[in-house]
Symmetry: C3
Subunit: 280 residues, 3 copies
């Protein structure tokens, strides 16, 4: 069976843009299966594109063709590429930071520039503002359909030159476990660190324990409170903060049926640091 | 042909959550067809989850596997179940009120607890906050793919013990026909009662008649006006209220090209009662 | 392979409405492939429905069955029709202006009224407010599945009588090139004229040139500035206006990583005119 195509963008579905990406793929091969990750990535935010991608890659079969289009410099000389991941899946994307997390946490084996002379929709060659449709969806469709091999995408370039956002790695200082805020959920207000839950386990922090949670933005304290660690939200009262293991097995803070992110004005990225320290 | 999977949640599609549910199903069987009901159910609102489900079950073929995940107490001891409906379709859901309407109006023949030891995604067993992906989508995928039979979902439990929201049944008192506000449409502002249109017919209320419509919230009057009954919105002037038969064949009030719900601040549920009485 | 069905509405996906349209099609034939254009067309706005349609028709294979449901007068005597386009694709829609652009720019070969006696869902015949599900999706499903031929949709009527919105055609007056604002993108704030890029080319306007852009609403000036013409947004500084070729090969104005539409309060339609004049 041909691999699925999974698309994510910052286009929203308020306009016909995403639908034309589906159509381009379906014209190449009407048997292609197409699915959506979110199209609500914040506009132009290549960090969050990267983070949205790492959250899904492991839940799709090897060989899946991911298309990620957050592309503020579309039509300029930024690279358009297809990365081959460590499990044989592909990411078709501008090389603009959107590959940061899959490179660091999942592994990229090879990366190729898309050869526009053969892997670009011919009929719209005068349009330079919509590579999502004309280049990325089109190339992804040909790759998923088996019309081109990965080698036929275009020339290889060094994986080490892929553009990456700055990531503050988790670190341990005595009883303090620190990291950055990696993911924010704009809907439920969940705030996740990049600290794997196994670090908590390794340091003997268990469900029922209390940890002092400190969040800083550019070294200014934004949040500092003792919070209980639990398996899930419903172990604390509605409105109470709780530390849980996130869906990606990182340590996360939330308010049960509340909105931690908006309550405290939290965002994600390397300017946002979080520290946990067991207090009881 | 394998049955379709139809998903509804309160996750929105702003985050990657729903996409991982698709992926889990596709990894089980890439031939599975997956469709979406709304993912914009108000957060944690199991009443509206239940109502969203009853609005679609009759428009999907018998055997369809519905997945409903509005799950404020995920990871606690609330039951995770698969209900078998009277037409042979299935609902995979937390047992938390989300089955109220299908049980009352459509019929549930059997219900089984999901056996987590065999029907849960193994790779994320340390994550307790995302049963939508790890338990409900996974179990639904196996059921739809035919990898497990319904009997292999887990042990039966009594249908009578399914958790239900309070429903105020329609009643007739002389010329007054009363019920509760069952459904509100946040987009077009439609406000639907749970009074079947056939009750209107049985009481001789026809298109062109005028009815006094009274809406109360916890016994306080919120709306009381004479409104004409018509086949559709466009039979009255733009901005005028109209009583019509809803898409689910219940009696509904609306404003032609307006927003009845927001204009009068109406919501749904057993605290919201509506009465119709023919005046001319 | 059976043609795809592509749906657009003003229903949003906040409610179960669109899901029931999928289900009706899937009950007719579970092998039908169904895709979505936007469901966020502004409520009741048949001009924007028409514009959303023209943006996608050329990116879907000939024979595709488009379903467009922006239907403020549903259930009244407005015509329900299926138009056959010049490439053999179909549009199933109320005849209420939604066909304006495909008729003018793409070509409609034939149009037929939908015969409700044979091409309407029987089970909901008492419901008059949801032709999207009961008539348009149902008829589209039968047509795409090959259960009915196009001839069996219903009787022909003259293409010339199709209801059309007023369109101000592009015109040239000396060095001034004028047209109307055809498309606005509510998300990225792009504002596109109906002036094909080839008119710019024919008049010697090239990337790097500067044009005076004038926008008027009902003859009142809303915007008048010199703007550079470039291949894409990223050729100007963030926050700066730029004229580019739109995804539909029309001339478009935008602000790089800004929101031209909201910044200047622009909308689309025949009351909104735009003029470009080369100044350097």
């Amino acid at each position: 069976m041909k691999p699925a195509i999974v698309m994510q963008t910052d286009f929203t579905v308020q306009t016909p843009a995403v639908c034309t990406m589906y159509g381009v793929c379906q014209m190449i091969d009407p048997t292609l299966r197409i699915f959506d990750n979110t199209h609500d990535i914040p506009n132009f935010d290549t960090y969050q594109a990267s983070d949205a991608l790492i959250q899904i890659v492991d839940f799709w079969a090897p060989g899946t063709v991911f298309v990620s289009v957050v592309d503020p410099t579309v039509g300029t000389d930024r690279k358009a590429c297809v990365a081959k991941l460590s499990n044989g899946s592909f990411v078709v994307t501008p090389d603009n930071g959107s590959l940061t997390h899959v490179k660091k946490y999942f592994g990229i084996d090879e990366v190729r520039t898309i050869d526009e002379t053969r892997n670009r929709l011919e009929s719209t060659k005068r349009v330079s503002i919509f590579h999502g449709r004309d280049l990325f969806a089109y190339c992804a469709g040909k790759l998923a359909a088996g019309i081109i091999t990965y080698e036929e995408v275009g020339p290889l370039y060094p994986v080490e030159t892929i553009i990456e956002h700055k990531i503050i790695e988790p670190s341990i200082d005595g009883s303090k476990i620190s990291g950055m805020i990696e993911t924010i959920d704009p809907h439920f207000g969940l705030v996740a660190s990049n600290i794997p839950s196994k670090i908590f386990t390794a340091h003997g922090i268990q469900d029922g324990d209390t940890v002092l949670v400190q969040i800083t933005h550019k070294n200014t304290s934004v949040y500092e409170q003792n919070v209980t660690v639990q398996p899930s939200f419903g172990y604390v009262a509605i409105g109470q903060a709780v530390v849980v293991v996130s869906e990606n097995s990182k340590m996360q803070i939330a308010i049960n049926q509340g909105h931690f992110k908006d309550t405290y004005g939290i965002d994600c990225g390397p300017d946002w640091l979080i520290t946990f320290e067991k207090t009881s």
